[in-house]
Symmetry: C2
């Protein structure tokens, strides 16, 4: 997702924005000129086209990358981007060093899906991607999934959560026993300031409104945390879940993530299917995590050998499968699907992917209950082309 | 080796060089300004400092990267860089497509060491690295290894070969049954034009002068080549050798290389010991080769599983070893050694590495026969630092 489905039609009240963001007007103009502050293509979200959104394509001063700026009833509002969570490579030392000033840490599940912020703007729900784009599919799903009473009473709050399940056009997962796609809250923050709810208050608030939440595994003393988390991670790994986020219940210290080996390997399996389309850093980071986890878990020869085999298989099997497929004349593709109630979402989503330069082929909608499933083949051109040329005898 | 041990003291006869290279003077000036044409630090090779060498840091027009330009008795001479040899990912299709216009291909061993060009300049031998630097150690070794009668009779020829063996500060290898370091010719070319000797004539010429040569496995019809080479590759793999170069005996078509799985895995083993110092592309390319070879060799489940395990072990075991070592307070280093007759080479070589920004610790010379061995610890700062910081609990 490197391209930008943004519109060219910029109409930002520069004076007002400068005032609201406490920046100079020339700074705002510079951000617009350098395409760091960009108008968002909303895919018809704003039906009368009166509502315009602007996103930060980089972090600027203290405003996170992906933050979204807009005007409502004459006032500016800002939906803050979701801060990147750093990773523990060695859990024990990381816990000790990072959380040394607090007594307990809370552990929640890190689900495998995609990160979405859901907010209400003038009585209408919008779902923003990590980068601050309005994803028409996620927006449609959020509008269907979330009852409006939460936003009726808290129009100034933003739900940060994971969209996950099989009807997921980015990271489809069947491991959560979800029928289609659900939204799991892991953070609630105020508009403008981005100030988060304290962990337990956030969970209470979400519960009151019947919102899905990521699993809470408990709050542990720093002394117990390493063993407890290691045991949670092993259990999560067995059911192919991704990992955990370790949080300061007071939400003062930054959270830290830690993932299961099985999740690294699943990532590698998917990435090596499309070996020439995925960034080299993606492979590397996942491989390195395996090394650190093996050291920390003090693995014996049998466990180590199992890990080595698993790693090698996660890399080679999907790549070999892709090469064979292309050799036999089949184009490899990432098969995903979406589920919609309103057929008009399909063409809007198609246009959204087109603007992101994603090469995707949509099948005809198949009716399922009162909804439709659309299968999408995302073509990975570079892997197809490279493999094809190798099969023709071209040299590397 | 990203830095450049070049001198700042440029004294090139621009007019003469332009004339010799058939370029405009302003082009030559531009190459000097943009540091594409650079004076080479010769480490005292030219004792009276009258001889100056200039190297091409990029290919320019038809002059290969690494080509070396100098003046001798008022005339310019050029030692052409060694052209990059492309790789077959799928041997069968590559042979068919690349060599379709000829009837037979010759197969020689691709040895695992480092690529050196040896030439005689005014009665004195110099050894140039792939990039066109004068390596003081390689030069000293070449002067010791090569009798002068070859260059006495062929001062206009350049020997292209592999320096290999255990006393090798770049790629030490014990697999060739070499006591210290030897030089194996794989190409002989004319100065200036870079015109190569035909394969069989080159082998004959080298034999006449008693020069070491890379192994010649035979000349095969295109019909037989794939099976013959696959069988050679399997045998070479078993003894941990690297692979083969497949050549047009007439030296008209470009040669093609193909390597053993064991060599890929050995590369990975070495690279993952220094996981944070080695480029991500290095890992990636070696992993991808494994996938293609497995498909081409039509491996069954047992063979595939063996390959997966081998790949996983080549990646994880050295990395885990490094992490454990750093965790226990030992700095990891690449342990290599050189062997010299003349003690003065040591400090020159030390200066050479310093200019290349290689962080290396030299031990005291140990006498062995009429020579000295110097152990060198090349420190891989980035891997040491990264691993140390992870062990201290820093986040990734």
């Amino acid at each position: 997702m490197n391209a930008r489905p943004d519109t060219a039609d910029i109409e930002l009240d520069i004076e007002g924005a400068a005032d609201y963001l406490n920046m100079s007007q020339s700074k705002i103009k510079g951000l617009l000129d350098r395409k760091i502050l960009l108008q968002v293509w909303d895919g018809g979200w704003s039906r009368d086209q009166s509502q315009r959104f602007f996103r930060f394509d980089k972090s600027v001063s203290k405003i996170e990358h992906g933050s979204v700026l807009y005007q409502r009833n004459g006032s500016f509002e800002l939906i803050r981007g979701f801060p990147k969570i750093q990773r523990a490579m060695l859990l024990g030392p990381a816990l000790e060093s990072h959380f040394s000033t607090i007594k307990t840490v809370a552990v929640e599940e890190k689900m495998n899906g995609y990160n979405v912020r859901v907010a209400d703007i003038g009585g209408r729900i919008a779902a923003f991607t990590r980068g601050g784009l309005i994803c028409p599919y996620s927006t449609d799903r959020a509008q269907n999934l979330l009852k409006h009473d939460f936003f009726d009473q808290h129009p100034d709050l933003v739900l940060y959560g994971e969209m996950t399940g099989p009807d997921n056009p980015y990271v489809p997962k069947n491991v959560y026993n979800i029928e289609s796609l659900d939204f799991f809250v892991f953070d609630i923050r105020h508009k403008d300031s981005g100030k988060p709810y304290l962990l337990h208050e956030r969970r209470k608030l979400a519960e009151e409104y019947g919102l899905n939440q990521v699993t809470f595994f408990g709050e542990f003393s720093l002394d117990d945390a390493q063993d407890e988390i290691a045991s949670i991670i092993r259990k999560l790994g067995k059911v192919q879940h991704e990992g955990v986020v370790i949080k300061d219940p007071q939400m003062i210290l930054d959270p830290v993530k830690y993932t299961c080996s099985q999740s690294n390997c699943a990532d590698l399996q998917h990435a090596f299917k499309f070996y020439n389309d995925v960034g080299r850093d993606y492979f590397f980071s996942r491989v390195v995590r395996e090394g650190f986890q093996s050291v920390e878990w003090n693995e014996n020869e049998t466990e180590l050998q199992k890990r080595c085999l698993q790693l090698g298989e996660s890399i080679l099997r999907p790549m070999i499968e892709s090469i064979k497929q292309v050799k036999d004349g089949t184009r490899i593709a990432d098969d995903v699907q979406i589920r919609v109630k309103d057929l008009s979402i399909i063409s809007t989503y198609q246009e959204y992917l087109r603007r992101l330069s994603v090469d995707a082929v949509f099948s005809e909608p198949e009716s399922i209950g009162d909804e439709y499933i659309v299968k999408i083949k995302k073509l990975n051109q570079s892997t197809n082309d490279k493999t094809e040329s190798m099969c023709k005898g071209e040299l590397w």
